[in-house]
Every structure is written in C-alpha cells, then in structure tokens.
Symmetry: C2
Subunit: 231 residues, 2 copies
C-alpha cells in the first residue's frame, strides 16, 4: 500500500522513574550514561524504542538492559514532546513509573554498555540530570503525590512489616512536609487498617519499635469509599 | 553535531476524545475522514504532529482544523504505541481528552479538508471507528469514570444552572449504572454543595423542575477532604 505518511527524522524513547523507599528516604533509580553527548551525566533509565516493538515492551527491555531489573510493573504517566527536548533531533519520550519495595539499595548492574552504572539516589539529593529529566522526574513525583490521596500506594513501597516511624517517614517524604507524630499515629490507628504484630524491629540496639502490617482488605476498602457519592 | 539517533520511519500523531453532556447523554466528537485508506470512516479528531511543533501545540491545532473548536483545555491521558496500530507505518499516538459544556450539539465545521464533517455522537451509540480508536475512546471514558470519584468534573460538563435530573443523568452515564432517585437526591442535597435557585427550567411544557447551581467553594472542598489522612 502506498504510504501517505510523511518522512520525519523522529524517534520515540522511553524514560523510567522508578521509586523505592529505603532508610527513611524516597529514592529513584538513576544511571550514569556512557555515551556522548551525555557521557558521565546522570539520567533516568531510558533509551530509544525500536521500530518493531511496542512502547510497553520497550519500557521493560530498556529498564532491564540498564539496571538488570525485570518483571517490574510499570505504568505510563506522561509523554514529553517539546520540540527541542533532545539535542540530537526530534525525540518524543513516553515516561513510565513504578514503585518497588527496596531491600537495601545496593548498586545495580547495567547489562547494556550505554550505562556505566545504576544507583538508587534520594529524591532530596539528586544530581543535575541530562536532557529534560528533571522535569520528567518532577512530574512523576507529582503523580505519586497525588496518587497517595486516593490509592493505597504505601503498600507498594514499605516492607511487609514496618514501624509507625517508617510509615510516617514515607508520608512525609511523599507529601514533602513534616507531620505531627501524635496526630499521625492517632489517625492511622483509628482507621483500623494497621495490625500490631507480636514482633519488634531487629538490628536496633536501643528501644526497638513495634512492627505493624497492613490489614490489606480494610486498607483497600478505606481508599474505595472516599467519594462514592452518586454511587 | 553528529547524530547518533537512528533513522526510523516513524511519526507521532494526536487523537482527541472530547466529551460533552447534552440532552441527558454523554457525547464525544467524531469526524468523518476524507482520505484513504479510511475515507468515510468515523474517527476521533486526530492527525500527525509536525516536525517543528510540540505535541501540546499539535493537539490544539489539529482539534481546531478538524472541528473549528479552539481554546479548549485538553490534557494528555495515554500514549498508544503498539507496533501495528496504523496500517501505513509506525505511528505512536498521544491521546488527549477534554470535557466541555455543550450548548446544543450542532454539527461543527471542519476547516481542514481531511475531514468532511465533525459531529457530536452519544457514547451509547458510537459507529465503528477507524484504527484503534475504539480502544482510545474506551480508555478515555475509563479516565473520566475514575476521575469523577476524586475530582469535581460535573462542573465542567453541566450548564451553570441545572436540574437534579440532569445531574443524576450525568452521574448515571459516566458511572454506567442506574441510580436510585430518592437516594441520589438525598445524598446530593445533604452534601450542602447545591444552591437551590428561585428559577425553574424553561421551555418545558409540563412540571418544570427547579434549577440548581453548584456552590463551587464547597463542592471543591468536598473533593479535597476525601482521604487526607497523613496530612
């Protein structure tokens, strides 16, 4: 069939904002690029979509090649299409995000050679990023900040057993504000969504705190009943 | 600067899902295409992003050219990037949506000649659509269905003065279910977000219904206080 499509020098790319919570800090995964013109720059894990792959598949493949992570459930959150966002040509990038449970934020091993390393870095301590990746990160952060008010995302980031301090820290870093400890605990306990365990924190020398679990059924229900008006 | 970008035959496009509420029905704007291979097919208003324009600008331009509508506030909601979604080559499309207040759903006038007409059609009565536009529409509909539970969108679709029947119809078509009239009215009136006016519906021969307005301040606040826990 004759094609009516114009011939443009344009490519699609994928960029990933992968959130993890560790040591009381919200972190994202960054790579150090290994190619000009951004050699040695920090960037979000991302690269070009191949001609013959879907964007969802590209997102999985690229994250794996750059960080060794796989089987991570990612969702699109925004597509960035300003004309001059890439110095080498027209590149429209589809941004994906994921929230994962970190078990110690050790350095990850890139498989592809277009990154020299992949590291978890606190969102409060980000280096200068390549391209428009600061903008992409900010939008991703805004996404989870909004989401925390209508979906149960603390689940996805906290370990299965956690302390109230960890829970509060998570809310504080995502909402970007200090919360009153007494108030926070009272509210959280009143919701009836936390199950107190017969266990305490391990590896803490002084005053180990109690551990809690979410009552998943109640937690999810709490987030469903919000504004059900009309229903 | 030497470019490292590959040369792909790929283009970006924009597709728009424009919602309006009229005569008790949720409608979207469709165009009839005027070009092969989809001549005479119904499709969402959409076309190709030019090499030198941002995707946001393209969305405005394309909607205007196809429907004559302008200054419509649109938001991206999803990017569709399956390999074979377009019969003529690799086309990744960024989908935008908008909700607008309809004043009589008359036919609109395309300015560009790649559409022969632009018409408001009820979401319950859609014809077969070109490309993967049914999928794009469904995802857009899902978007506003989710949104109605955490953001005040009835505002954007209803006329400034409306009857309780209109309000209920709007919720029913978006949530896609019948609601109990007595219950719905009781809930809505209890929220204290509706202001009863000293006016009745015009142009109705029999039992004209009372008109209401939203108390915007209260309505917005209701949607903010939902799940503010941790805040």
């Amino acid at each position: 069939m004759e094609t009516l499509l114009p011939k443009f020098d344009s490519v699609f790319s994928i960029d990933c904002v992968i959130f993890g919570f560790d040591e009381g800090e919200l972190k994202i995964l960054l790579i150090e690029r290994n190619e000009e013109p951004f050699k040695d720059w920090w960037a979000l894990p991302g690269y070009i979509v191949e001609q013959e792959e879907s964007i969802d598949h590209a997102a999985e493949r690229i994250l794996y090649e750059l960080t060794g992570l796989r089987d991570i459930y990612m969702d699109q959150f925004y597509t960035f299409g300003d004309v001059n966002r890439h110095p080498q040509g027209r590149v429209i990038t589809v941004a994906y995000y994921a929230m994962i449970r970190l078990n110690g934020s050790k350095e990850l091993k890139p498989i592809s050679n277009y990154a020299s390393k992949a590291v978890w870095i606190s969102v409060n301590d980000l280096p200068k990023l390549a391209f428009d990746h600061e903008k992409i990160f900010s939008r991703g952060f805004e996404k989870i900040r909004n989401k925390i008010s209508y979906q149960p995302i603390a689940f996805e980031l906290l370990p299965e057993k956690f302390t109230l301090t960890q829970l509060q820290q998570l809310y504080e870093v995502i909402l970007n504000k200090k919360l009153d400890k007494r108030n926070f605990r009272k509210k959280m306990l009143n919701y009836g969504i936390l199950k107190e365990l017969d266990e305490k924190q391990k590896g803490v020398s002084y005053r180990a705190a109690k551990l809690y679990k979410f009552d998943k059924r109640k937690y999810t229900r709490l987030f469903q009943k919000e504004l059900t008006f009309g229903k």
